[in-house]
Symmetry: C2
Subunit: 753 residues, 2 copies
């Protein structure tokens, strides 16, 4: 990891996470650990074993007779207002009809977790099984059962999805469709000297956060609710709970305890249900998913199929792109299909393209977000095809990407240059049997969105930076560094304070790699504002010009006059009590960045494919990212390590497997192949910094990108090693071995990587 | 109650308190009601029956054997750092020596309140009684026992006390001394045609807040403490608890539940003790005073003696003033003696004065603040003397005050003019047997001090105003009105949010009549700042000039173009989520008012004195106050009613009576004569508004003043009715009757009132 050159005191030096000690010593309290006032009720779910069924009866008598069971709540009991799409958060319990296996049907509330669990086992639900469409193929078949009523598919579409066009005339079980075209596709392919066309399949995958979904809601007699939730978004959670219960937002307070990961999945799911249960019983209610419930009924990334045809001219430049995208979205719209349809057209400057996408509802759990939603899928398809074209044209893959860069994209140039100079890039030429090298390139933009923060001077001369940040990955530490830099003080003099939704400055969801980019800019301004206020106070106090003063190490000094200084404690004393003559120091920072800052990245994988077992072993892995400015290099490395690890999971191990009846076969962590630490290879990180215009100190997002290239890089490396093309992941030994033995064992000659 | 003329929509219209409903329905949670997480320990105090004693032994075995008793904590067990003055908050439990009756000696912690109470009864303390000085007379006697070691009297003096001079050469048991002189006192008295000289005595009184002192502290495993306290000051409590335990302020969070009155008494007393107990046990600890403990060991106003000699020239103007002030301060310095020594010299423009004051330590509980500390005492003496001079000079009392007004004091003129025009002022001339009229005049300044606030726009178009205000008396409602006025919206669209000390904008203690004056200015600016941000957003959105826009009733309108408007919900949507293009609306307001805004006031009392019982009945009571601007007239009236009621308590009923051994005789509300509602006369209020320069909309403080004049007004009226002068209060029937029968029953002829 290389630090950028700069004159900063804090920025660019790796520091440990502020919350690290609390987390590793077990002192950090996650949502399920937070002690709350009052006598807690524990909620346990009764879930459907069927993917599609009519509920013909529910017998709760035995459950109610169970000692410690207080109440059994069914869909009709819940005080939640419906929404147009009958979304899971607004209709969390199945009413008459079950739509996916694992769907909650009833909630048992008990005085203890054991009582609730015992009670849940005693609830008898009578199901009448109905025909199941558990795959997009089945759902698009002519005789497919209708998964959702068309009127429930008219709601807002999923992530951003500017290209999606939900329309009343969609075919059955198609929830949205996208079209994106430009130029003359036929002419484009006619220009090409090489054309590749393949269909890529990615399975449904699970984010695998450490902490399953959890929520506790405490009502108070006045009708206010306090929601403790493992959520990535304080203010959206407040609004959604209020809307669901028909309350003004002022009556809902959201408190964010420590959060054990989210990766896009934790953006309001259980909270309205839990709030409804608390309102119903006027007692605090805790509702936590077990790991198996989380696998079956949380917010996984659903599976997709991308048919991608790509043509290149003899110099390697892409001339035409045609894609057909099908996203399974489970029983609830919200897949990143629209994103993919949009972004596939701009990843490289292809003059002619024609992209269509459909999102299909099936009898599976609904689609959620997962770190760079849609991009791992798209880049797997795209970078596999680019790799093939480069080989066919005998162009080395790095040159191939350079030739297809946007001319003004400094970021692409910087990461490709860095790769070219890296020792691994040279080592790839030393070929060994069964080993191969693969690369994948991508660029992505972090999200934008408004943010705000406050910065307060305390009595002891330290500062509190107040935000509403859901800190998923150490962002608070980086924010503290930004504040410390602006205030020229040590990091230990900055306290990051997470306010609640009643009092915190507005902070958007942590997602889209934007926490530092948006909130960091606000924190920087808040700290600079505090600094300016401090200088103004001292200028007034000393009858000096603010320009002649500097804040340094806890005191304001008169430039060039050592010994003339006023400490921050003294300054604070001038701004409080009954005697203070100056206004309190209350920095305020806001941002509304307008530019989606694009960072490019390139990954290089070195693998060995065992010809006898099909096992793929990752020998080296290099990830080079443009992060604009690495505020805390250790944290940037942490994000890269984490993202690459997840990407390797996609590439090699993970898939949520459903049977034909729509039951989740890989429904526990015994079956779903999350890597253990020993399975993860050493990952080398390279960082370049092409500054963004609006990010703090030029920073760009790094949360999402590292998960994007691994699947393509690994599969390209497998091809290089063994001559087999995996158009479907994960590259399990079984799958690799079957390709190896299917008469494709001879590597296609070519320049290799 | 007259409203000022203005063009405001909210200001000046009486509204109900925002928190009124919660309070009258019992939903409001006061400190002792707040449910806290974890298994609470209840603290019960073992207190000393002796005013002065050596502790020779404490046997805790029987207490520890009591079921449910968890621990017995003595002074030596407490993890509190000592301070120089061995103050009660830092040394809350007697160690070797008891200094006042009711002093806590040990704390018993139990799993229930009953267990703790039972345990406390079983703690055996062996005392060796020591000589007691329970009065200033006893403490100043040559052979008096030394109440405190001189080195413990070197600390900071009491309230403001600019005139006090604690010095190492003070006599034994004198904790501070003040001198304040100007001009030629002998020449001044020589000029006088009338001189009066008397000694006034006021007893120790109790603030009588509804909620006794209470504190709950919740520790968490990381060493942080959350302090729930019935305190008037969030940030001072945070600092003092942190200092007492040697923690950084960031490790202490103070949360203010509803508070049931304070009147100056609640400014850190139990919190360090309770925090120490929580730290010691690592369990939540609740420590509440019983009412009797509160009477014996809280923060009462101690007794004082003011010898006042005053001379006037024939036109009524005062020519000389000589005063000797003695304040009992109990065993702990902190009486308002210094205040009185300072303010007595400026109440009227007396050219020659000589004032001395001493503060004396005695074996009583320490002195606290009580609503306008020192002023009721001073005005009782001063306005009694002015009344005598006016009678002797045959000048009516209103004219007497006019002749002694500062020439530029518009406020004095305004309240005196208002009194002159009032019907009761005319009625006073219709004399009836045993009835009389008395007036008293005063002016006082509200305190200043920095304040800050934030104002946030919410998703539903409402606003949150965030402060750290301890709302004693409905100030939050007035602040909300100020914000609503600035934001041209209805009061119900303003949510007053009380932050905690981690996140709230700095807000000083609620005291010195300054909440509205200081924090109101900050709130007004925060709301105006939010408004300006809103207009700027819409200007940008509509490509309009902000000057052409106006915010009105929840939307921004283009002036002169009805139909062109953007709602606050729409504006908020532009400032959040992933799509918002504008910065969040986060108004920030700060103030550091520099001017002590002086408001004058005059009270008129009409009484009947029963010649056979000595009972004084208040027939009419009029209080006219200059409040600058009555933000919420109902609340101004409420403050006047409350203050006058307390003042009448001083005048007629209340006194904390100690016996010679220093034991509190009036130690419960059966003995201490707080008025019940039926004992309080109808109180008429008159309000004038001479705007302050820095208060919001010209407002000045009204919290303290109404308690100031009643004692003087009532005693002057008693003289008018019965010809007896009470130089000592309360004017109990016994005291009045004994004066009536002591040969002074003939009223001195004079102009009367």
């Amino acid at each position: 990891m290389t630090n950028q050159e700069n004159s900063y005191k804090q920025i660019g030096s790796s520091v440990r996470r502020l919350e690290g000690r609390a987390k590793v010593t077990g002192q950090a309290r996650f949502t399920a650990d937070v002690p709350v006032p009052g006598k807690l009720l524990y909620a346990r779910l009764v879930t459907s074993p069927y993917a599609h069924a009519r509920i013909t009866g529910i017998d709760i008598q035995a459950a109610l007779a169970c000692p410690g069971v207080v109440r059994v709540v069914l869909a009709r009991d819940l005080p939640l207002l419906p929404d147009a799409t009958a979304s899971r958060k607004r209709k969390p319990l199945a009413g008459d009809e079950v739509l996916f296996a694992g769907q909650p049907v009833a909630v048992v509330l008990g005085e203890s977790e054991a009582a609730a669990t015992d009670g849940a086992a005693l609830v008898r639900v009578d199901y009448e099984p109905l025909p199941v469409a558990s795959t997009t193929r089945a759902a698009l078949a002519p005789d497919a059962p209708l998964v959702r009523h068309p009127r429930e598919l008219q709601g807002p579409a999923g992530h951003g999805s500017p290209a999606t066009a939900p329309a009343p005339d969609l075919p059955p079980n198609v929830s949205s469709r996208a079209e994106n075209k430009k130029g003359d596709i036929a002419a484009g392919f006619a220009e090409a000297v090489v054309i590749v066309e393949d269909t890529f399949r990615l399975p449904m995958v699970y984010q695998g956060y450490l902490e399953p979904m959890a929520c506790t809601v405490v009502p108070d007699p006045s009708g206010h609710l306090t929601v403790y939730s493992s959520t990535q978004t304080m203010f959206d959670t407040r609004r959604e709970v209020a809307e669901a219960l028909g309350l003004p937002v002022r009556q809902v307070k959201v408190v964010l305890p420590y959060i054990g990961g989210g990766f896009g999945a934790k953006a309001v799911l259980l909270e309205p249900l839990c709030a409804g249960l608390a309102q119903l019983t006027m007692r605090p209610v805790q509702l936590n998913f077990t790991r198996m419930e989380d696998l079956a009924a949380a917010n996984p990334m659903t599976d997709c199929t991308i048919k991608l045809k790509l043509g290149a001219k003899s110099d390697g430049t892409l001339s035409a792109l045609k894609a057909d995208i099908i996203f399974d979205t489970g029983a609830y719209p919200g897949s990143p299909m629209g994103f993919v349809a949009l972004l596939l057209s701009v990843a490289y400057p292809v003059p002619n393209f024609e992209i269509t996408g459909v999102e299909v509802v099936t009898h599976r759990v609904g689609a959620g977000s997962y770190r760079a939603p849609g991009l791992p899928q798209m880049i797997f398809a795209l970078e596999s095809q680019v790799d093939k074209l480069a080989r066919a044209l005998n162009i080395d893959p790095l040159t191939m990407r350079r030739r297809n860069s946007y001319p003004d994209n400094l970021s692409a140039g910087a990461v490709l240059d860095r790769l070219e100079k890296h020792s691994l890039w040279q080592q790839r030429l030393e070929k060994r049997p069964n080993e191969g090298w693969g690369m994948a390139f991508a660029g992505s933009a972090n999200s934008i969105g408004p943010a705000s923060a406050a910065c307060r001077l305390n009595e002891d001369g330290t500062f509190s930076v107040i935000t509403g940040l859901a800190d998923l990955s150490g962002s608070a530490t980086s924010l503290a560094m930004i504040a410390a830099e602006a205030l020229t003080t040590d990091l230990r003099n900055i306290t990051m304070t997470l306010g609640d939704s009643d009092s915190a400055p507005y902070t958007g969801a942590t997602g889209g790699s934007r926490a530092i980019y948006t909130l960091g800019a606000a924190v920087q301004r808040a700290a600079e504002d505090a600094r300016a206020q401090i200088l103004a106070i001292v200028a007034d106090h000393l009858e000096a010009n603010p320009d002649d003063l500097e804040l340094l190490d806890g005191a304001v000094h008169v430039k060039g006059a050592p010994g003339h200084s006023v400490t921050l404690q003294e300054i604070n004393a001038m701004t409080g009590g009954y005697e203070g003559k100056h206004e309190p120091v209350l920095g305020r920072g806001k941002s509304a960045n307008k530019e989606f800052a694009v960072g490019c990245y390139v990954h290089l994988a070195h693998v060995r494919v065992d010809p006898e077992t099909g096992e793929v072993k990752v020998l080296d892995y290099l990830a080079i990212h443009d992060v604009g400015c690495a505020i805390n290099p250790a944290e940037v490395a942490g994000q890269i390590h984490g993202g690459v690890t997840q990407g390797l999971g996609w590439a090699l191990y993970e898939q949520m497997v459903y049977d034909e009846a729509g039951a989740l076969v890989s429904g526990s962590l015994m079956d779903y192949a999350l890597q253990t630490a020993s399975m993860v290879p050493a990952i080398q990180c390279g960082v370049v910094g092409i500054p963004s215009r609006e990010g703090p100190l030029g920073a760009k997002g790094i949360g999402e990108p590292p998960i994007v290239p691994p699947a393509a890089a690994i599969c390209n490396a497998i091809y290089d090693a063994a001559g087999i093309r995996l158009n479907e992941i994960p590259a399990t030994p079984e799958r690799v071995y079957s390709l190896l033995t299917a008469g494709k064992t001879t590597a296609i000659p070519g320049p290799g990587i």
